[in-house]
Structure formats: C-alpha cells, structure tokens
C-alpha cells in the first residue's frame, strides 16, 4: 500500500471538490436561471467530460498548460516554473474533468425548486441574489452535497487525465490510480489489490452517502 499516493489523491480530490463547489454553484445557477438562447452550448461544454476520452481532455489541457500557450507562459513568468507535470496542473485538469459531476446535481436541484417560492421571496422585498442565498441554496442542500461528494469521488478515481497532465512523479503527481497501474505493470498483484480495494471501499462509501441523503429522488444521477 503506497500511502504517499493515497494522501496525494485525497488532497487532490479535496482541493478539486472545493474549487468545483465554489465555481460550480454560480455556473449551475446561470445554467438554470438564464434565458439566453445559446445556453445549450454552455450546457454541452460542461457535459463534455462525461463522453470525452480522458486522454483527449488531458491532451488539450497539457497543450493549454504548456510553455507555448499564453496561460502556460503567464504562469511560468509569475511563478518561475511550468504548470504541466505539477500538482497545480493536475488540479486544473481534474477540475475540468469533474466539472459535470458538480454542476449537473447543482443545476438539477436549483431547477427543482418551485418558482413560486422565488416569486414569493421577491414580492417580500428580497432581490434576486439575496433570494438565491436565502431560498434557493438552503432548499438545494441535498443537491449541493451530492455535487460535492460526486466530484470528490470522481477525482479520486481519475487516471487518463492525470497521466497526460501530471505524468507519474512520486509525491507530486502519482495518484492512487496511477500507482495501481504501476504495480500491475511490475507484477505486484497483491499490493495492487490492496490499493484497489481501499479505493473501491472509499468510492462505495461516498456514493452510499450521496444516495442516502437523496433517498427517493434521482437528482444525483449526473446524466439527468
């Protein structure tokens, strides 16, 4: 059991879930309440990681983070090192990869709120943004928890994006799934089995919590 890889993975998943919680809520709110005609394009882009092979996503993230892209150059000039093959680069790739697993449960729970409650709040003198914080968010708690847990669980198990963007640097970018792959390659089946089992249990536990708090509703299915 490689505890270094394990802690790195938990760290990555926590940071990614945290970022997605903060970024995903406004994005999901915009998708739910906007009346723009081209909204469907944004929805499609957000959902892309569900269907795209992780290697494709990883490839483009790698290009975008590299020294030839404006983002990569800007990062290098401010921090002195490149983004590719670093923990930060891994975070960026993982945020994109897990985006739909946060945004879709958020958006589904926002959309499920009776619009009359929002009208009632506004007629009681509470403007749009305050209504969002006082009515929409509190009533979306199960959806918010689902999104947080799902993005955490999804980041735990990612492989393709990590390999493309992060490579396999122990302590920096070697996550559990990459470690398992390495151990199988080296013929260490017992160790691979141990690590796999831990990952399986954590994933199962996370999803049990998600479905437990959403008993009776199906809003957590990310593809709905």
């Amino acid at each position: 059991m490689n505890w270094g890889a394990f802690w790195l993975t938990v760290q990555l998943a926590s940071v990614v879930a945290g970022i997605l919680f903060v970024v995903g809520i406004p994005l999901a709110a915009w998708i739910t309440f906007s009346r723009r005609r081209w909204k469907f394009l944004v929805e499609a882009v957000v959902a892309l990681p569900i269907v795209l092979p992780p290697t494709v996503l990883g490839f483009y993230v790698l290009i975008a983070l590299g020294t030839k892209s404006p983002l990569g150059r800007w990062w290098e000039s401010t921090t002195g090192h490149t983004l590719a093959f670093t923990f930060e680069g891994l975070v960026i790739g993982s945020v994109l990869y897990s985006l739909p697993f946060a945004v879709q449960p958020f958006a589904a729970s926002f959309a499920a709120i009776d619009h009359r409650l929002i009208d009632a709040s506004q007629s009681l003198g509470v403007p749009r943004l305050a209504t969002f914080f006082r009515v929409v968010l509190p009533l979306s708690k199960p959806g918010l928890v689902s999104g947080l847990m799902l993005s955490f669980a999804h980041t735990l198990g990612e492989f393709g994006v990590v390999l493309m963007v992060g490579g396999n640097i122990p302590g920096v970018t070697r996550t559990v799934s990459v470690d398992i792959y390495d151990q199988v390659q080296a013929g260490n089946y017992a160790s691979a089995n141990q690590t796999s089992l831990v990952l399986l249990l954590i994933s199962f536990l996370t999803l049990s919590i998600v479905y437990g708090i959403n008993r009776g509703s199906h809003s957590v299915w990310p593809w709905r």
Binding site: D114, D119, S121, S123, P138
Partner: protein, 370 residues
C-alpha cells in the same frame, strides 16, 4: 416600512394592455378604493395575469399601474419597478410558504432589514392578530390548511403592503375556516386601508366576500360595481355564460311594476307572463332571461299556496340521470331544463309525456341585455 400618508387615497389604478400570446390579449382598466374587490371570471379569463402584472412577475406591453403615491409601472415614462421594490403583498394559490423556515421565520422573512427585537415584536403581533401564535415554531409541513393561510397572510401583511393580492387562496378550505379568516382580514383592513384584490371563479364567494366585484371575460372587464349592482343591472350574455345558466330565453318586457320592484316579461310560445326583478329597461325592450336548472321546482300536480310567482304547465319530454342529479326536460311552449335529485324523481313518480308544473321564483330570473 412607510405607513400610508394620512389623507391620501391609497386606491389602486390599473390600466394595462398585454398580448401574452396570439390567442390571448388582455386589455383591462379599473380603479379600486381600499377594501376587498373581487375579480371574478372563468379560468383563462386573465385573473391571475392581472395579479402578476400588479406584482411585477409579468410586465404588460403598455399601461399605467399605480397605488396611491407610487407608480409601479408606466410605459409612457418608462417606469417598471422590479418586484422587490413594489411593496405588493401576494398570496399565491398554493401560498408558497418557505418549507425550510418555521412559521415565525416565514413571517419575518420580508422584514429582514429590521433589527432582531423589532422583527420579533412585529411578527409576534401579526401571528397573534391572525390567531397562529401557538404554531410559530412549526414548519409549514406541520401546519393545517387554515394555519398555513393565516401564516401566509401574516407574512404578506407584516410588510404593510400598498396593496394585497389573493389568488383563490381560500378555495380549498371549509366554509367556517374560510369565513373566520376573511373576518380577520376585514378587521386588519379596517385599520390599514389598502385595496385588496381577491381572485375567484366561485360564484358564491362573489356575494359572500366582496364590497365590489369586477367581472372578467377573455381578458376584458365585462361588468363592475357592487355585487348587488352587477347582479341587478341588465347583464351581458357573456356573464350569463360564465355563471352557467342552463336555460336562456328571448323575452320582451310587457309591463313594469316600479312599486313592487318587478317586471312582467313575455316569452314567445308561453301563454303566461313571467315575473322578474326590475332592471333598467323599458316596456317593449328585448332582453335575455337566464334561469338555472337547479333553481326550478318541479311538481306533478298544479301547485297552489306558493310564494313563488311563476308557475308554468308543461309536458315531461326527457329524463336523464347525470351522476347524482337527474336532468328533466319539460316542454311548456319552450323547452326548459330542470335539475332534481334521484330521490325526488322516485317520489314524484315521473314518466315521459306526463303533465308537470314548473315553479320559478322571481329572483331566480336573471335578465341580461341582448
């Protein structure tokens, strides 16, 4: 919270045109003083749309909506206040109480800007005034139907709105609960003189609740006044159609008895004159006469010793059971539909072709202009 300025008439002025879709155009103008005004009409007449336009949930194409000192919408001046800046109380049909808040928190929701003790003081007073101070810590899911209405009223009124809109909020309640709530609302309204618009499609509520009534049909006002006036004036056919008259006939006024407040009308094909309430009409005027099938009595022998003035002899030509009522068709020169109970049909021993007599009270005869 700005209490209404003394001496100012805080009435509501509503003038709006709106084409919501190609099939439905709303064009409504009215002014109402403080007190309860009923907006009555069939579903699809545009009642809820009017409330949504006043509240600001919908925006009309053009018009002017104002209450006392405040202009809520004016297309000429390009004014359209957002919903949260209108101070309009709105009780939706489903009330829309916040399910995650207790009764007290619901009431305090709209007075968030006040400090804690002032909030508490005002919500306690409102909860008390509407008789729900005992359930202040319960969530809406643990309140009875009547308690929910009271909490929703307290929530809307604690902000001292310029106008209160009620969209059939009491329609699901039993009659004693409903009248108790209306009494509390009237008492509150005596102290706070604001216009209250009460939307309903129930004929019964118009007469029970309203000081004034506005009758709406297909996006237009077809009649307005006190329930009494609207009832008495020769009414338009559209109104009759709304309130569901099974029997509508063409009649001519043959004589007017101003001293008794009645008129006699002749009905083509019927030998006897029909006594009706007096309306604004002259001898020779052509009117329409509406009689509800449930307002007619049916007898199997010539009745006498009755207060009812109209007795028509005829032949039973049809008998048909509809759910729990029996619909009888009687030919007395014109064909008349009468509703009776199943027990009545059996007790009378009715048979097709038999002679029957119809009894109609004067005030069951409703006159409309053609």
């Amino acid at each position: 919270m700005h209490p209404p300025i003394a001496g100012q008439s805080p009435g509501l002025s509503f003038h709006a045109r709106s084409a919501l879709n190609p099939e439905f155009k709303l064009d409504v103008n009215f002014n109402v003083p403080p007190g309860i005004t009923i907006i009555f009409g069939a579903s699809g007449a545009g009642k809820t749309t009017i409330l949504d336009l006043i509240c600001g949930i919908k925006v009309p194409d053009s018009g002017l909506i104002s209450t006392g000192d405040a202009i809520l919408f004016d297309s000429a001046q390009n004014i359209c206040r957002p919903i949260w800046d209108r101070r309009v109380g709105y009780l939706f049909q489903d009330l829309a109480l916040f399910p995650h808040l207790t009764a007290r928190q619901n009431v305090e929701y709209g007075i968030h800007e006040l400090n804690r003790s002032e909030r508490h003081k005002r919500s306690s007073r409102m909860l008390d005034e509407f008789g729900v101070s005992g359930v202040e810590d319960r969530r809406p899911s643990r309140l009875s139907g009547g308690e929910r209405q009271r909490v929703a009223l307290a929530r809307a009124l604690v902000r001292e709105p310029r106008v209160l809109l009620l969209d059939e909020p009491l329609s699901a309640l039993d009659r004693p609960t409903k009248s108790a709530i209306v009494e509390d609302l009237r008492r509150w309204n005596r102290e706070h003189e604001i216009p209250i618009l009460y939307v309903t499609h129930s004929h019964e509520e118009v007469f029970a609740l309203g000081d004034r009534v506005i009758i709406l049909d297909k996006g237009k006002v077809v009649a307005q006044g006190t329930p009494h006036e609207v009832m008495r004036a020769p009414r338009l056919e559209t109104v009759a159609a709304l309130t569901g008259f099974e029997n509508v006939f063409d009649v001519v006024v043959s004589s007017i008895h101003a001293d008794r407040g009645t008129m006699t009308c002749s009905l083509a094909g019927v030998s006897v004159g029909i006594e009706t309430p007096m309306v604004q009409a002259e001898v020779g005027s052509h009117l329409r006469l509406g009689i509800r099938a449930g307002d007619i009595l049916l007898a199997n022998e010539p009745p006498h010793g009755l207060s009812a003035r109209n007795v028509l002899a005829g032949k039973l030509i049809g008998l048909e059971r509809r759910d729990v009522i029996v619909s009888a068709r009687v030919n007395c020169g014109v064909e008349v539909e009468v509703h009776l109970t199943i027990a009545a049909r059996e007790a009378l021993g009715l048979r097709l072709g038999g002679e029957v007599w119809l009894v109609v009270k004067t005030h069951s005869c409703h006159l409309m202009s053609e």
